[in-house]
Symmetry: none
């Protein structure tokens, strides 16, 4: 019963994900999702009551399926500098990824959804936490220069957030991303 429901939901979410990727959030209709999932309109309502509900579930699922390989690689690395390089590379991958839900997430937040804002905030703060951890470690080991880890972590993530929105709404190029990520690394390392 519950299992059947879960399977069905997963199926709906898979279809919905494609729709959100292609159309963002605001212009997606329940019909779009029903069609993508290959079920009837009425059927969809048995599982979800709105596109927002569906989208938040897509995000949740996304999160739980996050690249575990990445975390393994991260934890197997001894060196703070290398860890940072890994994290930044991962961020670059995300920034350039075609299929991601950034636009839809922003649109959801724009639409006034508190849950949407909360999801984005949580995502951001989690990233800040990871970055803070790396910075503390690197500072302790003498790999990074002494700075306020909290503020610096936040600054770095803001730059990346700026790049994220930039790649979606402006002509931000891969070169620009590389340049900025390199610069972040430099600033942490520079002894001057």
């Amino acid at each position: 019963m519950s299992e059947r429901t879960d399977i069905k939901r997963a199926h709906i979410l898979a279809g919905a994900r494609e729709v959100f990727l292609k159309k963002g959030f605001r212009s997606v209709t329940m019909k779009d999702i029903a069609d993508a999932a290959g079920i009837s309109r009425g059927g969809l309502y048995l599982y979800y009551r709105s596109t927002e509900e569906i989208f938040l579930d897509v995000l949740k699922q996304e999160e739980s399926e996050e690249d575990t390989g990445f975390e393994e690689r991260l934890s197997s690395t001894r060196n703070a500098k290398e860890m940072l390089a890994l994290v930044l590379a991962e961020q670059k991958k995300e920034l350039l990824a075609e299929g991601d839900l950034t636009e839809a997430s922003y649109e959801l937040a724009f639409s006034g959804s508190e849950s949407g804002r909360a999801a984005l905030t949580e995502r951001f703060e989690k990233a800040v936490e990871v970055m803070k951890y790396l910075l503390r470690r690197g500072i302790r080991s003498g790999e990074f220069r002494r700075t306020d880890p909290e503020e610096t972590a936040r600054q770095i993530m803001l730059i990346i957030e700026g790049l994220r929105i930039g790649t979606r709404t402006m002509q931000v190029t891969e070169e620009m991303i590389d340049e900025q990520l390199r610069r972040i690394m430099q600033q942490l390392l520079s002894e001057d």
Copy 2:
């Protein structure tokens, strides 16, 4: 005729601006704008074919009406450090402003509009140019430490862009903005 048309268009844009401020871009309808402008639906179509066309015109008008007082104050300042402080204060004001077209602009870009992307890019690059100019000046005068003006200017504007999207989609507070802007200043001044 042309003058008449211009007056009418200005009238439409004034109404439309309010609508875009309140509702973003995607959920705005031609009816919304016709109502806000106090004209008939049919009448609106005599001047504009779509909400995108109207929104782009709103942006264009916005640009041409930009805060000239600010530019005056800027040009009357001798000191690069003070100029930067002015610019950052202006940015802060923008970041916190309730009524701005950021969300609508982003939504327009998300909707795939090339013109929308172009408008945002131009705006960003113009800001980078101003920042670059300031940095060069401050470096030359010895007020700022030596850094690559291009890259640094871009980094600063990316942080601000990150803050901009953050205030719209996350729980980014005024304190966080202050902290980051102060940090930008510090990093330019620090001699270490």
Copy 3:
């Protein structure tokens, strides 16, 4: 403009009336009325926002078109007894009329509409007033026996109301109506 609107509304009401006669109130849809009026769904919404609004307008129109011939005949009658006979005959006609909005009116009131209740109440009280007037006149002239005009008028109209609902929901026959109306007359005349 206003005239055009009035003509259109009258046209809609004419179609709507048929629908309400046939289907009562609750099961009538905006589509039913649009179809009956020969206009599009969207078009109907330009004039009315709900079936309730339409129905109340049908009632209002009904009222303003009331049988003026009847009132003339009434006012040309000198004799209270004859006037009463006229009124009762009119009521009988109404009771047996195929095409009346009684059922729809009741359904509207059942649906919780305050305006519906108000319309029915007003209609009833108006009839009571007329009846009271007749009774007073007949009592004064010695044609009717002395009774409390208010209470008696109300009693008579309640009997008629009972007959009205009875003809719609039970097997109340014309004979039964005749018998009761005759009895009302008798009770007013009887000297015992």
Copy 4:
């Protein structure tokens, strides 16, 4: 099996009754009843094919559960006048009762259901019979003035029917009910 079925049906009817009380007849859905009875939609169809079928069964059950206490009190009364007072008091209670199926019954009849009409007719005629019996008895004993029992009984019940629909669809007050019931009594007693 048959017993099981009966229990189940009773359970469904109990839930359905609440729904009809609250929503009348026309706007009640099979889903409403299934939910109220705590069974599945499919399950409900095993016992009933439509809301009409269910409602008629609710009425039938209602009838068989009628206030037997009242009948006892009635039969233990020697005096026709007192009996009538009892009956009228009972009617008043019914008129003012919040939870009764009057509205739903009328709606059923309006919807064209022959069974609905038949049920209402039977109920009315039964009441007329009781009233007739009382009148005959009172006339015989000299308590009531001489009138045609059939016509008078019917008239009384029509007044009550008028009050019934009046309390549901107009602003008929308790005072008005009292006044009318008192008047009925008076008219039977008066010797003039």
